[in-house]
Structures are given as structure tokens and as C-alpha cells.
Amino acid sequence: MFDQFLIRKDSLSNVYENGKAVGFKFAVRIADYRGCFLSLHNGYYINCDGTEYPKSLQKFEINGKAPRDFEEIKTCVWEHWNYDDEGFVHVAKEGGLKPGKHTIGLQQSILAQYGYMPWDEEWVKNPPEPGSGAGAGKTAAICTFELELQEGGC
């Protein structure tokens, strides 16, 4: 669902700390027709210009709060990601991205379900790795985006 619209096209920018680029970020929407309890959000498969950036390098910014890593997101069991709302995915990368066009392959992992499934106990112990297709919700494909790095960022 929303394959070509999961990332906002003009949202890619570098992230700076103390004047130094420490990574990049882009705006995403939920790949579903409903929002979710934030705890269900299990990170992303991200491939930028041929390099994969695992969940451990990712943070998620939503609900007006500072970016949180996915270990913290996992504990947000009463907070909701509303269907209407955009979130920002932050990816750690020393020096950020170079100016110009970048190709990002993305798969979102949200452990939303319609009830009990045979793999439930396994998912508590070992949540699926984003990119495998398991836990990818309503958009199982890895979607590809050509994005131009925007000036500025913060």
C-alpha cells in the first residue's frame, strides 16, 4: 500500500549535531490503512545508494518527541502512531549524505496483526528482521525512491 508515497519526496536532509553532519533523515507515513500502537513499530529495511543501514542505526521521530531508537519505541505500548501523521526516520551516518540525488530502498516493519498467528511466540523472542517481508504489514515489497538531498536540516 502507498508504495510510491511512503517517503515524502522532498524530505531527505542531513542531520547535524554541533555543526557536524551525523546522519540523514526522511519523512515517512504508515504503510497501512490504520495507525498502530507505537510499540508495534519494528524499524526499517533501509538501503541507501547500495549500503544497508540496520535497525541499530535508526531512530524514529513521532508525536512531537525527540527521535527514539527502536528499543525505546518497543516500550511505547500505550502511545499511538496516528494514521494521518508523518514521522521522521533518522539514520546514523558519519558525514551525512553528499549533495545531489540518492536512491533509497525501504521496507517498513510493523508487527500489526489481525489476531493470533502460529509465529507469535517466536516474534516475542526474535522479532522479524526488517526486509525479510515478515512483519512488513500491508506493503511487503521493498519500495525504491529517488530523492534529492535538501539543503539545511538540523
Partner: protein
């Protein structure tokens, strides 16, 4: 009386996503252009900050529905068993979510809630007292690939179909009869009368298949194989095809999961109906009249009409998701699709 028409705002999910229509715009469309009053919602799509909406949201919702004299028919509720992440939700916890959803539905004026077909029957039974107290009926969904009557179809052993209980409708009827409760019943989804893959989903599958000929193979040979065997044959004939199980399941569809006549016996238990559809096209011999070529509406609606069903069929458009993998110029017009669906509902429902 007769069959009533409504719309699940699910149908306008894409317009909501792109912020072209708010839930208020959607309700006005149903009122002004479809000339009807039934409204169904997805709780986690419409209720801002679910499950803790503000008092302002609740008042605004009830006020807006009152302004246009609309009827809150059914609220679709969910069961995400991984919410707590450190354990799989127990059935008692699942019942707590359902009870909370029932109370929320009552505050928003809904007559019914729709739990999904994977929600265990004992969870529904645990929430029944709350449903009685708040006067909200629980309608469990009969969604494809479920049949209405068990024993009429072979259940696959893989994929989503394997996790479902094909005796589900009977279990709910047994619960209603045993307790004598009028607050538990069924929400059949017209997808159970879908007999072939929709053209929009075939087109999507082909655009994304490494070997589109493998999709053609499924379409041409689905009648000759049970689903489990299709997975095997496909791997043999097209090694490395990469088609996921859900797509194989959708492309293999060649017979509806329920028999239309089976709906007659469950009419007393129907809470409301989902009018699922994917692609309304004009009937070649009938200008201005529309149909979904993949779903039989005519036969089940005839049975519903002849047997006095007077509840709501709420349009549930689902064709948009198969047309969102390209530019904006390929996006479907949901408003137009739902208007066409209501032309059909009016005609088949016997409204002049």
C-alpha cells in the same frame, strides 16, 4: 424498510492519506451525494489518539453526525497481539481491548463493533456482558477465505487461510443461541462471494513479478490445483519466481469462499455487512450501471432482499492499494468508485 446503504470510511483511505478529505468531508459526501445515512469507521484511522481520544473529538464526532442526521452503524476494531512486545497478549487481555473498544464505540454512538475473524470466540464471550451493558452488538467478520457453512471448502495448510477456523460462523451462532444474547452476531464481507482475482490486483502482481508468466500460469491453472499444491507446482515450474504466498493465494482464486445461498440461514444473526469491492466498471449493455466483475453481488443480494434483511450494507472499497505503486496520475478516484457502488446497491437492493 429493505436493505439500507452505508459507507465504511475505509473506502476513502487514500483521500485521507493525501489529506484531500477529512472524515467530515467524507460524511458530507455520503449525505449529499449518496443520499444515505450509514457510516462505518476503522477505529485506528479516524479516532485521533486512539484509544484515548479527547473529549473534544468525541463531542465533535457526535455533533457532526447529529448535524447531518447520520447513523453510526459499525466501528471496526482490531487485535494486535504483540502490543506489549514482552509477551503475546493473553485472551483475557484481548478481551480487555475489545471491552474498551465497545465502550469507545458507545461513546461515539455506534450500534455495533466488528472484531476480526481471527479473534477467538472465548474473547468475544468474555466481552459480551460489556456489549449488553453498553448496548453495542459484537459482529464477528466472515472474511474470505472463510466459508459461511463449514465443510463446503478445503482449508489450506499454509498462509493466513491456515490460521482461520472454518467453523467460525457456527461457533458464533452457537454462542448467540446458548446465551440467548442479541448482542453477538456476524458481519459477512462480500469478499466471500469473490470468485476471481480483480483485474487491478492482477495488474499489480504482474508489474511486480520477476516472471509475469508465472502469474499467467496461476491464473490459467488455478482450477486444477488446491492452494497447497499450487505453491509446490509453482516452485517446480518457475524456480526463483519470488511470488509471495499472499499473491499466490489471491491469484489462485477461482471459486467464492462461501456459497451465496448460505447467507439465508444466517440473516437473523447479521449485525451489518461489508460491501467489499475493488473495481466498479460500467456494464457494457447497461449505460450508467456498474458492477465488480470479480464479485457476485446479484445472487446474495437477491437472497437478502427476498428474505427480509433490513440492515446495512456498508461499501468497503479496497482497489486503491493495487494502484499506488506508480505516479499520482495512476491513483484511482475513490469517491467515483463508491458512487458507482451505490448505483449498484440501489439497483440490486430494490430501491426504484
Amino acid at each position: 424498510m429493505g436493505i439500507k446503504r452505508g459507507v465504511s470510511l475505509y473506502s476513502y483511505q487514500q483521500a485521507q492519506f493525501f489529506k484531500q478529505m477529512t472524515w467530515k468531508d467524507q460524511i458530507v459526501e455520503v449525505h449529499d451525494n449518496l443520499k444515505t445515512d450509514g457510516i462505518e469507521i476503522i477505529d485506528e484511522a479516524v479516532i485521533r489518539n486512539y484509544p484515548f481520544p479527547s473529549e473534544e473529538f468525541i463531542y465533535d464526532w457526535n455533533n457532526f453526525m447529529a448535524r447531518y442526521n447520520m447513523k453510526a452503524v459499525t466501528m471496526d476494531v482490531y487485535l494486535d497481539v504483540h502490543q506489549f512486545r514482552d509477551h503475546v497478549m493473553t485472551h483475557r487481555e484481548a478481551a480487555e481491548r475489545l471491552k474498551n473498544d465497545i465502550k469507545l464505540a458507545a461513546r461515539l454512538g455506534f450500534a455495533n463493533v466488528r472484531p476480526l475473524c481471527l479473534v477467538p470466540t472465548d474473547v468475544i464471550e468474555m466481552a459480551l456482558e460489556t456489549a449488553e451493558k453498553y448496548n453495542v452488538r459484537i459482529g464477528k467478520e466472515i472474511h474470505a477465505p472463510l466459508p459461511i457453512k463449514p465443510g463446503t471448502r478445503v482449508q489450506p495448510t499454509k498462509g493466513m487461510a491456515a490460521a482461520l477456523d472454518f467453523k467460525m460462523a457456527d461457533q458464533i451462532i452457537e454462542l448467540a443461541d446458548r446465551t440467548g444474547s442479541k448482542h453477538v452476531g456476524l458481519v459477512p464481507d462480500f469478499g466471500i462471494f469473490q470468485h476471481s482475482p480483480s483485474q487491478v490486483s492482477i495488474d499489480y502482481a504482474k508489474r511486480h513479478a520477476k516472471m509475469p508468466e508465472a502469474i499467467d500460469f496461476i491464473l490459467e491453472n488455478s482450477k486444477d490445483y488446491e492452494l497447497d499444491d499450487m505453491y509446490t507446482v509453482l516452485d517446480e515450474k518457475y524456480p526463483g519466481h519470488g511470488i509471495d504466498m499472499g499473491t499466490v493465494e489471491r491469484m489462485s482464486l477461482h471459486r467464492s469462499s462461501a456459497d451465496p445461498e448460505d447467507i439465508i440461514d444466517i440473516i437473523p444473526y447479521i449485525v451489518s455487512i461489508h460491501g467489499k469491492f475493488y473495481n466498479m466498471t460500467e456494464i457494457p449493455s447497461k449505460p450508467g450501471c456498474y458492477e465488480d466483475k470479480a464479485i457476485d453481488y446479484e445472487t446474495p443480494m437477491k437472497y437478502l432482499r427476498e428474505n427480509g434483511f433490513d440492515g446495512y450494507i456498508d461499501s468497503e472499497f479496497e482497489g486503491q492499494r493495487d494502484q499506488q505503486d506508480r505516479g499520482v496520475e495512476y491513483l484511482v478516484d475513490e469517491v467515483e468508485q463508491v458512487r458507482r457502488h451505490h448505483e449498484m446497491l440501489r439497483r440490486l437492493g430494490g430501491e426504484a
